[in-house]
Point group: D2
Chain length 146, copies 4
């Protein structure tokens, strides 16, 4: 999908279903327990792999952000099968006051299994409420927005 | 969220964050392994519970449909914690030519942890390609659309 | 299996494959994502359900113990299938200086899917090292040992 | 642990807690969702990673065996933490008439997180009952037994 995050309607021109849209990839192994009785990789495993890619990427940009998920959209594009090594493409799409929007593509070679857009919100560890992104973190985040 | 499925823009007037929007509930147990190092229920577990509710509900309406996921949107509304019994509210929002859109709310008591909209596509077991919903199945599905 | 915990050779006369061996049961739902490409419930899901039963049971006897797993043995007795409601039978088999041995049976009705013996060790939250069970906790634990 | 598989008492001289005991390793990524509210990798994730290593290894020796788990023993030796790349050491310990016993070590660098012994049983796909290992498969398996 073209990244369109949220009902609110952010629209960016990055095709998350193409490997070449990404410059950062996180490698994951499909596990046998990721499969389900339909014989393919269960959709829940996509979410787990996207999460791991997303966190690895975000940490590489700004270590130590304490974020929780606000929203995820996943477009399932193709069935994936065990065994496979998966590349989770990761890109930063938008930085808000206290939120971050990331785009991911899940690839088995050139086959796109899924595209995902995730909105994360920075929260305070104690109050568990959203808190603004610091200037320092914003500067780093802004430098990689696509 | 008001159920708004897909970028295409289906809009229905069912508030998936309210228990009273649902007449069918699927009960799930939060498992200890559903938690993560942030101390709450990991977002991937929400997807697993929503899936189980969705399938149980769909089977109760029309047994034997062979569907795969095309898309999911999840709005995370509140952190859930272990231990808890969770009610996954399930409603059918739309029936297309070969697709079905379901709405789900994830509740711990009255607390809504998440709302989700899922698009499923009926496929042929052998070709793995989408196939039209039969008239018989459609009649049953139409009878419960909200 | 007759409960035989650990290579060291604790032997107790409780048949973990029979429902009637247990007076405490924890109810779990098989989730669709618990299945694997062999069409049955994946062995990893048994471990997740046993864990949830074990923790619920232990909390009902003594709340607040901070334990980690030292060892688990699982005998797989029968394939389980989706959908099903599972009863995890729970019994306390032995209380050591800083360790606890629990026995579990995983049942779909009267069918025993698995029997498990788990050794837990009480640890100090900060040092992460084993620490003795308090007299108060021991009294409670001893009162339910089978 | 020294590999001691099953109550029956197979005893072999392979220390599954040492990297140097293994010549085959399977690489896995710890996923964020593998962690639990205790802040470490949940024990269930160890089982999932051991399974993936076991299956990859077994397929490298004899492709196409249709096996189910009969028994697993896991000794948890050290807490593992996210993020980490894990090496699952794999060795074949014993070949029976219709069963196979494998030993695994789970390593984060040189740190052994767990050692596991698994008994698999070859079954007939249709009857779901145990079936003898073919001579051809046995020859291949025997050639790698430790």
């Amino acid at each position: 999908m073209r990244a369109v995050a949220g009902v609110g309607g952010l629209s960016v021109s990055l095709d998350l279903t193409k490997r070449e849209s990404f410059s950062y990839f996180h490698r994951e192994q499909i596990r046998f327990s990721d499969t389900d009785m339909l014989g393919h990789v269960n959709n829940v495993a996509y979410a787990a792999m996207v999460e791991s890619g997303r966190i690895a990427y975000l940490r590489s940009v700004v270590p130590g952000l304490y974020v929780v998920m606000a929203r995820i959209e996943i477009d399932y594009r193709a069935e994936l099968h065990y065994p496979a090594e998966i590349d989770v493409g990761c890109a930063l799409l938008r930085v808000g006051r206290s939120s971050i929007v990331l785009g991911n593509g899940v690839f088995d070679g050139d086959l796109c299994g899924a595209a995902a857009v995730t909105t994360l919100v920075l929260i305070d560890k104690v109050t568990r409420r959203s808190t603004p992104i610091s200037d320092e973190a914003r500067t780093r985040l802004d430098s990689v927005v696509r």
